[in-house]
């Protein structure tokens, strides 16, 4: 895979002119030409525009006008995000003929930072799914095993970074859609705190659960992209080493349904963190059993509002599974939606309480490694679980509560499929979470540099 460098490492090479942005852009475009036919990660490739942006970046850097660590760096965008003059398909036939009239604010910030926008990536149609299988453009596939899903809904984004077709990608996360594909592909994926990054110019799934953030190769890269998307520079006041970091390890519901290899990798990661001096204590969320019904009522009700008109006029243009899930939302009663809102307040106070005595919460990201495309259930601990339910199980809570969360690779199966661990930070404190994550990152995965 060509893009073994992180954004931070590439930025140094570009700034010192050890390598040109044009050459890096060509490498990514060559990777797209070589691998996209089998991976189906991209819906649109901006080859000409990307080469022009890269050439401009080289000229500016040569002239001493260095803009920052994304200057000249190829970045892909989930195809829910508006880029002026190009289609935003949302991986749906419902969006046929659409051309964005303006850049989304996150795209404006990427352009101002000098990023090279390499293309728009495949996704689960309208982001309503965790596998990327229901797409008008066909499924995106896992770079390590094309018979498997790269996760979703930002599956084309994760595949694009892992396969070296981009150095980072911008995804969206409504129930785990940045963290699930990042974990499946061995990447770092950040869901910032709710409301920190504008979702304007992005096709919505759920008005109160949608988040925007990066998928990339390291926590440092996540911080770089986060700062650009937010338009600020991070202020790092948190610990810089693992020694003394206080972690609440979520148990009960959060470790009750885990593939044995995921459970083993997670416990080994906990042991490495203890050895490094982190202080781990078990924690729980009393009403964790209510997370799924609360999430379901919020996400489907809010999605149904956006899709009601086209479900009536163009229902057959949706993929069947996505259409059915959207139709479910149209049957939810207002009183049950309000109950879910009340449950959301309770879960938020419970996550705050669990965080009160620690720097971050720690839990696995996804209970299973990347699964085969086409399967709808998985057997865990003697019971058959729905892929959709199980993949959302550990991530959706933090969309409901809005706490920042990040997934970091913490191991792999014997077949080499990545496994992720998730850190959750205090309300509104994404920068602090990033600092904690950066301190712990070297110890979470076996064999990572220390």
């Amino acid at each position: 895979m060509p893009a073994e460098r992180t954004v931070a490492q590439l930025a140094q090479a570009l700034r010192s002119r050890e390598i040109s942005a044009a050459a890096v852009c060509d490498q990514c475009l060559a990777a797209i030409t070589r691998r996209n036919p089998s991976l189906n990660a991209f819906i649109t490739v901006f080859a000409d525009q990307a080469r022009e942006q890269a050439r401009r970046a080289d000229d500016e850097i040569a002239a001493g006008r260095y803009r920052g660590p994304l200057h000249g760096v190829p970045v892909s965008l989930k195809d829910l995000i508006d880029v002026k003059g190009s289609p935003t398909t949302a991986a749906s036939r419902v969006r046929e003929g659409h051309v964005a009239a303006a850049d989304a604010p996150v795209v404006t910030r990427l352009k101002e930072a000098g990023a090279v926008l390499i293309g728009k990536t495949n996704l689960h149609e309208f982001a309503l799914g965790t596998t990327n299988e229901d797409s008008a453009f066909g499924p995106a596939r896992h770079p390590l095993d094309p018979a498997r899903s790269p996760g979703g809904s930002s599956g084309g984004s994760s595949a694009s970074v892992l396969a070296g077709m981009a150095y980072a990608s911008i995804g969206t996360d409504t129930g785990g859609s940045i963290r699930i594909p990042s974990a499946a592909c061995g990447l770092v994926g950040l869901k910032p705190a709710i409301g920190e990054i504008s979702t304007a110019g992005i096709v919505p799934l759920s008005s109160t659960l949608d988040h925007v953030g990066p998928l990339c190769r390291s926590v440092e890269d996540a911080a770089i992209v986060y700062d650009v998307l937010r338009g600020t520079t991070g202020e790092n006041g948190a610990p810089e080493t693992a020694d003394g970091v206080r972690l609440g390890v979520l148990r009960g519901y959060f470790t009750a349904v885990l593939d044995t290899q995921v459970a083993s990798a997670f416990e080994q990661a906990c042991a490495r963190l203890r050895d490094a001096g982190a202080r781990l204590a078990d924690a729980g969320i009393a009403h964790a059993g209510d997370i799924a019904p609360i999430y379901l009522h919020l996400v489907l009700s809010e999605a149904a509002v956006y899709h009601a008109k086209t479900l009536e006029s163009r229902g057959d243009d949706y993929t069947p599974n996505v259409r059915q899930r959207l139709e479910m939302g149209r049957y939810i009663l207002a009183e049950d939606y309000v109950r879910a809102r009340r449950g959301r307040e309770l879960l938020t106070t419970e996550v705050d309480a669990a965080l009160a005595q620690c720097d971050a919460l720690l839990l696995p990201t996804v209970p299973i490694p990347a699964h085969k495309i086409g399967v709808s259930t998985v057997r865990i601990g003697g019971s058959e679980e729905s892929i959709r339910n199980v993949t959302l199980r550990l991530t959706q809570l933090f969309n409901v509560t809005g706490h920042p969360a990040i997934t970091i690779p913490c191991g792999a199966t014997p077949e080499g499929l990545p496994i992720g661990a998730q850190l959750v930070g205090h309300t509104g404190a994404t920068t602090r979470l990033l600092a904690v994550a950066r301190a712990l990152e070297p110890y979470l995965g076996p064999g990572r540099s220390r």
Binding site: G284, I285, Q324, R339, E350, D352
Partner: protein, 59 residues
């Protein structure tokens, strides 16, 4: 409206609209709605709390 009445109506409506495949999804939604309605954090008109959010439990 009770969950049973709601489900019966929803299934009937989905079938009328040519969406019979919705039945199992509506049944799972009924289970989820039932879980919400029976959760211990719900308030009702006899509560002392008058619907104030429940205090978080330890654990």
């Amino acid at each position: 409206m009770t969950i049973k009445t709601w489900l019966d109506n929803a299934v009937q409506d989905a079938e009328r609209r040519g969406l019979p495949a919705l039945r199992p999804l509506l049944e799972s939604l009924a289970q989820a709605a039932s879980a919400l309605r029976t959760a211990d954090w719900n308030a009702d008109a006899t509560d002392e709390s008058h619907g104030a959010p429940t205090e978080p439990h330890a654990g």
